[in-house]
Every structure is written in structure tokens, then in C-alpha cells.
């Protein structure tokens, strides 16, 4: 009995009960299951189409790549402002997976199982999208226009997965053929990222360049890329490589060129398009030169290292300001993503986002009023080749080919070319040094492309 009396006046007991009660209430509210309405096609109502994606907005892969999804959203806002597709507005949700496949797996399930998306559109990365390829195909959710050039997206086992950009092996083949034709007899060296990306580019290079011409093959690991790639560049110099092919991400391009310049090594660079966009690589060169303790003159000269670089492009670069597609892309971004445009302007990433989203909108239009997932895939397989895109060549889609573009032109960056002007400065432009060429990622030959290049509709260029 005295025990009981003591307990009654115990203030902490009341506090405990209150805290416990409120925690329980909070948990109860949070864990209430979300209700989802039953529909014939998930994510499609009479007035909306819900789509989603997972992209890196934080972490090492984010700089540059975090611009793509907002640029895509600008296109969807443009379409929605003009009445949507068949009266349906596009509702685009992109979630940050930080380039970690475990996050991609969870977030993609959230998009599919909870948010009921109609399709996964414009998700980025090879390891990340590999993680959900099985799940999305099992759920019969289209995994459209994956932002990666892995050869793995066109696989009959995964009918719901489609790539969009040229496979990395196509990059390698076209660059390799250019090197063989234009730098015959010279010693060639490679520096590539030691993963699918770098290896697929090298696969293409090796199909064209005789192995006797390759004097040194250097690699780096993307996960541990932290400082200058001095050892690799010194090895290439020691091997006497006169032409150096870089299959590198933008930061690695800068971290390769700078230490080479320091040791007085200026080979002819050939850079895969992944790591050659001047508005992306230029600022990296200057900032790394500054961080590395370069003199103001050296920092100023760092950007000049891009002069003479050979690379490829599959749509008109941002420096080509008279190109109607470049004008259209600029219009859309200026009007529908003003803050993104003020920050990044038109660069390789924002152009990519606009073009990819525009491809998806056409797929929706072709799929028609009775929108289904299978209908969308059929529309891409049957009509994908006739979609209007900024690409130099039409999309390759068919029922068996799930690659997008398979054609590129070789580009030379030159100080004399019109520059690309972005909010971060003025960057070296490029001129085409080869006709547009088409090839498959397999062992097939490279053909010159002679067909037409599509123009944007008037409504896009006039910006109405």
C-alpha cells in the first residue's frame, strides 16, 4: 500500500506515459496504409499520366547528371501547358537514389507499388538500373530510355527495357575507325574507366584499331577516383603513345589532362562523348588546376587543353546556335525551367534531358487515347524510327532492337569554332570532321548515314 501511494505522485510516470502515448500515436499515423484506387492501366486516368524515375541528385555522380531530370520535366510542363497528351497531363516524379543500387531497388518499388507509375522513364545508371531491370520486367512496367550506354539494355529476356543513347561500343567503333583512318602508323594508348562503360568503349576501339598499334592500356577505378591520374599518364608518355583515347567521366578527363600537361605531355586526345562536353569538362579543368596550386596563367591555360580534342556527338552540340533543335531546346528550358537555365544553361546534360523527354512524349502520342503499357511498347517498336528527335540519325527501335541512337559524327573541338556560351562562361565549340556514321554494337560494319535529319516542329522553335 505505501508503494502504491508513492507511485501516484510520481511525476516521471506521467511523463513516461505521455511520451509513450505520443510516440505510439505518431507511429500509428505514419504507418497508416496508403490507399490506391483500382484502374485499368496503372498510372493512367482520364486526365493524368503518372511516370517516375530514379536519378542521382546527391553523391559523386550528381554533378551534371542532376540536371537531366529537371530538364525532362521542363518538356512535360511545356506539353501540359499545351493541353497534355490526349487530354492527359504528365505527372513526373524523380527520386534521388544517390547512384546506389540498393536505394534504386527500394525507390523503384515505391514508384511502382505505391505511386502506381505507368512507366519508369529516364532513370540513370548501369549498376542502378541493372538492379531493377528484373523487377520492372516482372511487373510489366516499361523501363524506358535508360540513361546509360550499356550494351545490356537490348536483351530479349527483358522486353520492357529500352536504352536511348548510343551504346558505348558504338562510340568505340566510330572513334576507332576515325583513328585508323586519320592517325595511321601512330602509337595509340588507352586510358579507360575499369567498368562496363570503359570496357565497352575499348571493345569497340579494338574492333577497328589493330592491336599492334596499341602501346599502352591504362585504367582507373571510378569508385576511388580522387586525385590526378599521374601514374597512368606517365606510363602512356613512357610508352610513347602519340594518340591517347580517354574513355573517362568528365572529372577523370580533367584529372588525366592536367598531370600530363604538367610533365609536358601533349598527345592527340580522343575522348569518348561521356567525358568530352566542354561546358562540363572546361570548368573542371580550371577548378582542378586551381586546387592543384596552379599559377593564374596555368589555370587560365587549363581550359585550352580541350583544343584539338576528337570526340563524337549524336545530336547538335550547344555551340551550334543556328541549329533549330538547339534553339528549340533553349526555348523550352528558358520558359519552363528558368532556374535550371539560369544555373546550367544549355549543356550536354540539359540537351539530353529535353531530347529524351520529347522522345517519350511522341511515344505517348503514338500509343493513342487507349493508353496501355503494351500499347506504348508497340508504338515505340512500330513507329520509333519515325519519331522526331535532335539525333543525327533516326532511333533504331524495333521489336528486337532496344537501342536508341546508333549513329554519330566525329567532332573536333577547336578554338576557332563558335563557342558554347553558358551561365558559367564561354566554352570551346566543335566542328564535324566526319560524316554521320551508323553501326551496331556487334561486329557489323560502319556505314555512312545518308538519310534525312529531322527538324523540330515550328511550335517548339517559336517557343509559343
Amino acid at each position: 500500500m505505501p508503494r502504491r501511494a508513492r507511485r501516484r505522485i510520481d511525476g516521471t510516470r506521467v511523463a513516461r506515459a505521455l511520451i509513450a502515448g505520443s510516440i505510439g500515436l505518431m507511429l500509428g499515423v505514419t504507418l497508416l496504409p496508403a490507399t490506391a484506387g483500382a484502374e485499368s492501366t496503372p498510372g493512367v486516368t482520364s486526365s493524368t499520366i503518372t511516370i517516375g524515375a530514379t536519378v542521382p541528385l546527391t553523391g559523386p555522380a550528381a554533378p551534371g547528371y542532376d540536371e537531366i531530370a529537371p530538364a525532362m520535366n521542363a518538356v512535360f510542363d511545356y506539353v501540359n501547358a499545351h493541353g497534355g497528351v490526349d487530354g492527359r497531363k504528365i505527372d513526373y516524379t524523380y527520386l534521388d537514389d544517390g547512384y546506389n543500387p540498393a536505394n534504386t531497388a527500394t525507390l523503384t518499388r515505391k514508384l511502382v507499388l505505391q505511386d502506381n507509375i505507368f512507366a519508369d522513364v529516364g532513370s540513370l545508371g548501369t549498376p542502378t538500373q541493372s538492379a531493377v531491370q528484373g523487377f520492372l520486367n516482372a511487373q510489366k512496367v516499361p523501363q524506358l530510355f535508360i540513361e546509360s550506354g550499356c550494351n545490356c539494355w537490348s536483351n530479349p529476356k527483358y522486353p520492357y527495357s529500352l536504352g536511348w543513347q548510343p551504346p558505348y561500343t558504338v562510340d568505340g567503333k566510330i572513334l576507332g575507325a576515325y583513328i585508323k583512318a586519320n592517325f595511321a602508323g601512330k602509337k595509340i594508348g588507352y586510358l579507360y574507366q575499369d567498368d562496363e562503360f570503359g570496357q565497352d568503349v575499348v571493345k569497340g576501339l579494338d574492333m577497328e584499331i589493330p592491336s599492334s598499334a596499341v602501346v599502352s592500356r591504362q585504367t582507373y577505378d571510378a569508385a576511388t577516383l580522387a586525385g590526378p591520374l599521374s601514374n597512368q599518364m606517365a606510363a602512356l608518355k613512357a610508352a610513347g603513345a602519340q594518340v591517347v583515347v580517354l574513355a573517362t567521366i568528365p572529372a577523370a578527363t580533367a584529372l588525366a589532362m592536367l598531370p600530363a600537361a604538367v610533365i609536358g605531355y601533349f598527345p592527340q586526345y580522343v575522348v569518348d562523348s561521356v567525358g568530352a562536353d566542354p561546358p562540363t569538362v572546361g570548368p573542371l579543368l580550371s577548378s582542378f588546376a586551381q586546387k592543384g596550386g596552379g599559377t593564374p596563367a596555368q589555370v587560365a591555360a587549363a581550359g585550352g587543353l580541350l583544343n584539338g580534342v576528337i570526340t563524337t556527338a549524336y545530336f547538335a552540340p550547344e555551340s551550334d546556335t543556328t541549329n533549330p533543335w538547339v534553339q528549340a531546346e533553349k526555348n523550352i528550358l528558358q520558359q519552363y525551367a528558368p532556374s535550371l537555365y539560369a544555373k546550367s544553361g544549355l549543356d550536354g546534360n540539359t540537351q539530353y534531358g529535353v531530347a529524351l523527354a520529347y522522345t517519350f512524349v511522341q511515344a505517348l502520342q503514338k500509343a493513342g487515347k487507349n493508353l496501355t503499357r503494351q500499347g506504348l511498347l508497340n508504338a515505340i517498336a512500330n513507329d520509333g524510327k519515325s519519331f522526331v528527335t535532335p539525333g543525327f540519325v533516326p532511333l533504331s527501335y524495333s521489336s528486337s532492337v532496344h537501342y536508341g541512337f546508333e549513329g554519330e559524327e566525329v567532332l573536333k573541338l577547336e578554338n576557332s569554332a563558335p563557342p558554347a556560351v553558358t551561365p558559367t562562361g564561354s566554352w570551346i565549340g566543335g566542328v564535324a570532321v566526319s560524316p554521320v556514321e551508323v553501326t551496331s554494337p556487334g561486329s557489323g560494319p560502319i556505314h555512312k548515314y545518308t538519310g534525312p535529319t529531322s527538324l523540330p516542329p515550328k511550335s517548339l522553335t517559336s517557343g509559343s
Partner: protein, 353 residues
Amino acid sequence: MNATGFARMMHLPRQPLVRHVLCALVAAAVLYVVVARLSSYNEYQVGEIAAYVVALVGLSLLTGANGQISLGHGAFMAVGAYTMALLMNHTQTNFILELAAAAGVAAAAGLVLGLPATRLKGPYLAGMTLLFALAVPSIADKWPATFGGDQGLTTTVPTAPGSLSAEEWLAQIQIIGALVVMVLVANLLWSRYGRAFRAVRDDEIAASLAGIHVARTKVTAFAISAGCAGLGGALLALSTGVVNTGEFPLTLSIQLLAAMVLGGTGTLIGMVWGGILLVYLPQWSTSVSSDFNLGSGASAYLATIIFGVVLIVAMIAAPNGIQGGLRWLWGHKPHPGTGGRSAPAPVPVSTGD
């Protein structure tokens, strides 16, 4: 009040094995009913929590009961996950055996890494395990033909029996895995091995005077803990459907450690809170940032900021973690396994070896 007192109050059997199995069966029954009523996405998340709980239980045993620190448990999860995926791709083994093998291989890795650990303490041990966390992804990258490189190796969820959905079946596998591990570890901690773990944690010299083989005890704890992490990784690999190096970055090891501390170091039930935090905290923070319309720059780092703030607040408000806080609410004393700050655990006179 300690666990025995709690058991007496609740009229639970006094035999630890019987009591733990009984608790696990009740939990399994409750979870079975609850999971069947959840949406598929919530089922998936409950399964993910269970997978993390398995790994966290191992870490809790290592740090709470044995006083060793590991920054490499994410890598042990990777070892288990790769073992699982390799077995799935190259053999037709029953998935339960594959899970056991994943735990076994990770435990063997833990044994090898645990040997030098007997000579290292505190920051030096942490440094060595950190190195392991950094090394494992590079090893997997080095042999893409075996480990699938960037793309990784795929795993498939075993075919669900009857009309169960894939998500529900997966969640059941993972929950059963977590409960089995919790029962085994709870029994271990109640056995003479558990007492030896705590004795070594509290005072190595006293423990060795009492007849405990200190080095062997520490290596055993490390191997068992790594085995749990390996099983957790293998169970998580079933959720993600693929095993690649990107899934097991260094930050995973650090997040595991933070989740263990938040849940309540040394407790087992506390690891459930840890698992819930690992799965839900990033999501809560994303929805908070979109509710308040924060820019993408700010919202992107909100999860990390919230994790840090929660960790600091928890350490001030409930230094024994969430489970410690709940025990306080319930009116209990801190768990005897929480870092040796409470009454010393009984030390056996002899372990018999």
C-alpha cells in the same frame, strides 16, 4: 529490473531457450497476420527491415556484448550477398542452404579478419575494418567475369508457394530469417559464450584470470557477427534482385553503426528500431522536404542532416538508444548488455576450456 525479472513478471518460462522460442513464435504469428494486410510496397519494406535487423543483430552482439567496433559490416553483407548470388547463378541449391552458405562464408571472412582483431583495439580495430569495407568492392570490380562488374549478379526470389505475392513471400522469408537469428543470438548471449563475451568486454585481464581464452572469445564474436551480417546481406540481395558493388559503399557500414547506436547498442529488440530507421528515415526526410517545398539542393542532403540530428538528439535524450529509452518509459533499468555502463554482468568462474 533485468530480463529475468521481466520474464517472471510476464509469467514466461524461465528456460531461456523455451522463452526465446516462445517469444519468436508469438512475434512470427503477429507479423504473419500484419504482413498479410499490408500493401505490397509495405510488405517489401518490412522485409528490408528484417534483412537489416539480421545484420544489426550481429553488430550489436559484437559491439554491445563483446566491446569490439567494426566499420566493415557493410562489406560482410557484400560477402554474404555475393555468395548468395554466385550460388543462385551456378547451382540449383535450395535457397535455405544458400542463405546458410552465405552466412558461413561471411563468418569465415570474419574469422580471418578477426584474427588480427585480437591484437587491435578501439580506433585501430576500426581502421582495419574500414580498410576491409573499402577493399571488398574493389575485389569484386577486379574480376568482372566472376562478379559481374558494374552490372553485378542477379538474384531471384524463390517461387512463392500458393497464391502468395512475391513481396509477401519475400517478407516472410526475411522475417523468419530475422527471428531465427534473434533466437540463436539471444540464446548465445545467455549461454556461457555470452557471459565470456561480456567478461572480455568488461576486463580482459580479469576474464583471462577467470579462465577465459580472451583471443579465442574475441575471434568467435567477430566471426559470428560477420556471419549475421553475411546473412543480412544475402537476405537484402533477395530484395534488391541484384548484387553489385554500388550497393555496399562505405557509408552503409557507417549507417549500420549509427542505426545500431540509435536502436540501443547491445540489445536485440533495439535492432528492430535500427532497421526501421535505416529503411524509413531517408523516406521520411524526402517527404518532409517535398512538403515544405525545399529546393532540390537542400532536400537532397536533408536525409543526411536529419540522420545526424536524430543521432545527436538521441544520444542526449536517450544515451542507451531507442530501446534504452523505451525501457526507461517502461520503468526498467538499462540493459546489462549496453556498453558496460550498468551493473557488471556475472562472470563465469570457468568456461571449461
